[in-house]
């Protein structure tokens, strides 16, 4: 829809005197869109497609960063080795648990916040802008602040806990606590962003639906459940897909949480992204890092397809 309407735009008659150059002009106009698109596809080929294919090629070799002018052919050995590496499965498991720990509460909170923001509030614009502030903060800054808050000996959170008489927690060494810490950063950064997307979706739901629901005696909670959520379904599917991809690629937060690529002393919060980075830039096995990159890529494609399938099925059952 959107595409065809924008494509028709240049075909509108030109404002000035157009008659003499009419024919070549039409040809130019037909080619012009491709010309405008070309830079993107050119850049994509150079910086997107080529690295992708080259990474695939590298993943079939033994390449070490320290001697990177040598490439020894391995076939699929990097991949088979990967699948038998307990650290890979550990990273996959962590990516999943951190993904769930961060995405699920994040989206639920975003939905609730958007619902609240959708009411007539005083200072609505202020709240909306404020929601986006965490998203505008850099990962590095946010993570460093959170790492301080979660500090074992001098962190604010442990200080509060111990003043409440609770035993302080080692937020970095303990498996669940550290995964919770990383998830908290992700949740903090992205909740507002998703809330604004939900808000945009909510505003396209016709007001009459709410009015008639109110006339029928539906409470605000019932309105939320029976009007807002069904109306938002496409938006929710979109945010779930985007968040899933984001969670699969999670990297900056766990890397900076303690400042090392191992993901904690026992790799307890090492994600796939960190595992890739560790293989490539800590242990200097570029070939194996490339294999991890491709496995992650395939995993994301798989997850996106799965999401699409679920969404399609739900749409079908609705009808």
């Amino acid at each position: 829809m959107a595409l065809s309407s924008t494509a028709r735009l240049p075909a509108a008659p030109p404002a000035g005197p157009a008659s003499p150059a009419r024919r070549p002009g039409r040809l130019r106009r037909r080619i012009a869109p491709y010309g405008f698109l070309a830079p993107f596809f050119g850049l994509f080929a150079a910086f997107g497609l080529f690295p992708l294919l080259y990474t695939a090629w590298v993943s079939l070799h033994r390449v070490e960063l320290q001697t990177s002018d040598r490439m020894d052919w391995l076939g699929f050995q990097n991949y088979t080795r990967l699948l038998s590496d307990p650290f890979f499965w550990n990273a996959l498991r962590n990516t999943f648990t951190i993904g769930v720990l961060s995405t699920v509460p994040q989206l639920l909170m975003a939905l609730g916040l958007a619902h609240l923001l959708n009411y007539r509030l005083r200072g609505r614009t202020f709240f909306r802008v404020a929601m986006l502030m965490p998203y505008a903060t850099s990962v590095a800054a946010a993570t460093l602040v959170f790492a301080q808050l979660f500090g074992r000996d001098y962190g604010l959170i442990n200080w509060v806990l111990s003043s409440l008489g609770v035993h302080p927690v080692d937020w970095q060494a303990n498996t669940w606590a550290s995964q919770f810490g990383v998830s908290a950063i992700v949740t903090w950064r992205w909740t507002g962003y998703n809330a604004l997307i939900y808000l945009a979706g909510m505003q396209s739901i016709p007001g009459e639906l709410y009015e008639s629901a109110a006339v029928d005696g539906a409470s605000r909670w019932q309105q939320f459940r029976h009007v807002t959520v069904p109306g938002l379904r496409p938006t929710i599917v979109f945010t779930v897909v985007v968040s899933t991809i984001g969670a699969t690629q999670l990297f900056g937060e766990p890397l900076l949480y303690e400042g090392n690529s191992g993901g904690g002393i026992s790799h307890q919060y090492q994600t796939l992204g960190l595992y890739l980075y560790e293989q490539g830039w800590t242990f200097f096995h570029l070939g194996r890092a490339a294999a991890v990159a491709w496995v992650m890529f395939l995993l994301i494609v798989l997850l996106a397809l799965l999401n699409a399938a679920i969404a399609a099925r739900r749409n079908r059952t609705d009808r």
Binding site: Y54, R62, S68, D69, G151, R152, G259, G262, I265, F283
Partner: protein
């Protein structure tokens, strides 16, 4: 399986592609040197880790006074692991390297065997003799099989124990350094005294910072640690590693560790808050303590000969990468910085123990006011005298980190020592790509 093939051109291209993202930022800072040669002025960039102390000891200022056309710019990464990682990335891409790069002793075997072509042979810069006056093993470790000299030795790391006299007093322990040195002449003695301390000290006030510190110090006392003379890895069976592991895990079991990971912000903070009473102290740690504990710590610290009376932990080299903008000027600066006079100054002001024999003779009577006027010259000279000529392997850095990480698990998550030992071996395997 198909036989391995070597493809050079595509690989070079590939390494560039793979490194591009990480290098983009680094490259921009590397270009500063080119434009300043026009008016005869030269900016020499120096990239180091930890605390080398050149700047703190005023050596750069002195050199710039002697050479008005030279400006020295230093960048610094606290954690050597992170520094090494960044250095390798830059070496692979060939950009963003400083004129002078520091190298830790645990990494030099790897540099000599795998990356000799990435650094300039100091002989070609006219300072091939720069290591001649040093303890012999120091120069030998950075020389390639075909005689290239890839770096100049700065300091070595003879070991002692640094301790807080105020905390010792509060716990009713003696504070005299000779008496203490006698009590902890063995690691068992050190643990026993620790138990006495723990019984009387305030809660939250541990005997030492970490099991890792003790482990590294103890392993550093043996000639063969992680690899044998033939270059074969022996970390899983070497008596040095086993003994140090047993002692370090006993330290944790006795509750003597503050459970701090070294080189982290929490560790740094603990220097000033007095969270631990003792610390394994290679000579260069003196400068680090001064930097972290600051003026408020002056007079609170003291230093005594450590268990085993000897050992080597760390010590560094200065090298000139192939891509250096001003290799000649860098070589001159290196020669000056590592000359015996400057090594002696560095020890007096910062505590980094000289590898130059001439400087070692000159600093025997140095005392440090920050450490209650402890005779650091005498203590570290005694320790250096019996220092082993360590066998260095290509993976020493990686192996050492695997074991100290595993000790972190034991102390912070309560993992059983046997399980953590297995983790350490797994981590070495993972790093080596087996």
């Amino acid at each position: 399986m198909r036989p391995p093939r070597v493809r050079r051109s595509t690989a070079a291209l590939g390494s560039a592609v793979l490194a591009t993202a990480l290098l983009l930022s680094a490259c921009s800072s590397g270009g500063s040197g080119s434009k300043d040669s026009a008016d005869g002025k030269v900016t020499i960039t120096v990239d180091l880790f930890g605390t080398f102390g050149f700047k703190e000891a005023g050596l750069y200022d002195e050199y710039m006074k002697l050479h008005p056309n030279v400006t020295i710019k230093q960048t610094d990464t606290q954690d050597e692991g992170q520094y090494w990682q960044a250095l390798q990335t830059k070496l692979a891409g060939g950009g963003g390297l400083a004129d002078i790069q520091g190298l830790e002793v645990g990494r030099v075997a790897s540099v000599v065997q795998k990356q000799a072509d990435k650094f300039t042979d100091l002989k070609t810069l006219g300072i091939g003799d720069v290591n001649d006056g040093l303890v012999p093993w120091k120069g030998a470790a950075i020389k390639t099989g075909d005689g290239k000299v890839l770096g100049a030795g700065t300091d070595v790391g003879p070991e002692a124990i640094c301790y807080r006299t105020d905390l010792f007093q509060a716990a009713g322990l003696p504070t005299d350094r000779t008496e203490l040195a006698a009590k902890w002449s063995t690691w068992q003695g050190y643990l026993d005294l620790g138990k006495q301390y723990a019984a009387k000290a305030e809660a939250g006030n541990a005997w030492t910072d970490s099991a890792a510190g003790m482990f590294t110090a103890e392993v550093g006392q043996q000639k063969v640690r992680y690899s044998d003379e033939a270059g074969k890895p022996v970390y899983d069976s070497s008596p040095a590693v086993k003994t140090a592991w047993t002692d370090a895990t006993a330290l944790v079991a006795d509750g003597l560790s503050a459970k701090l990971a070294q080189w982290t912000p929490e560790w740094n903070k603990a220097f000033s808050t007095g969270k631990f009473a003792t610390l394994s102290c290679p000579a260069w740690m003196i400068g680090y303590i001064k930097g972290q504990a600051g003026d408020a710590g002056s007079g609170k610290w003291d230093i005594a000969a450590g268990p085993g009376k000897t050992g080597n932990w760390g010590g560094s080299y200065l090298a000139v990468p192939r891509t250096a903008k001003h290799p000649k000027e860098a070589a001159e600066l290196i020669k000056w910085l590592t000359a015996k006079e400057q090594q002696a100054t560095l020890f007096t002001k910062q505590g980094s123990f000289p590898s130059s024999i001439g400087a070692q003779d000159a600093i025997k009577d140095v005392a440090d006011p920050y450490f209650n006027n402890a005779p650091i010259g005498q203590i570290f000279s005694e320790s250096a005298k019996a220092m082993p000529a360590q066998v260095l392997g290509t993976d020493d850095g990686v192996i050492g980190k695997a074991f100290t990480d595993a000790l972190g698990e034991v102390e912070r998550t309560g993992t059983a020592p046997d399980t953590a030992w297995k983790h350490a071996l797994d981590n070495v395997k993972k790093a080596n790509g087996n």
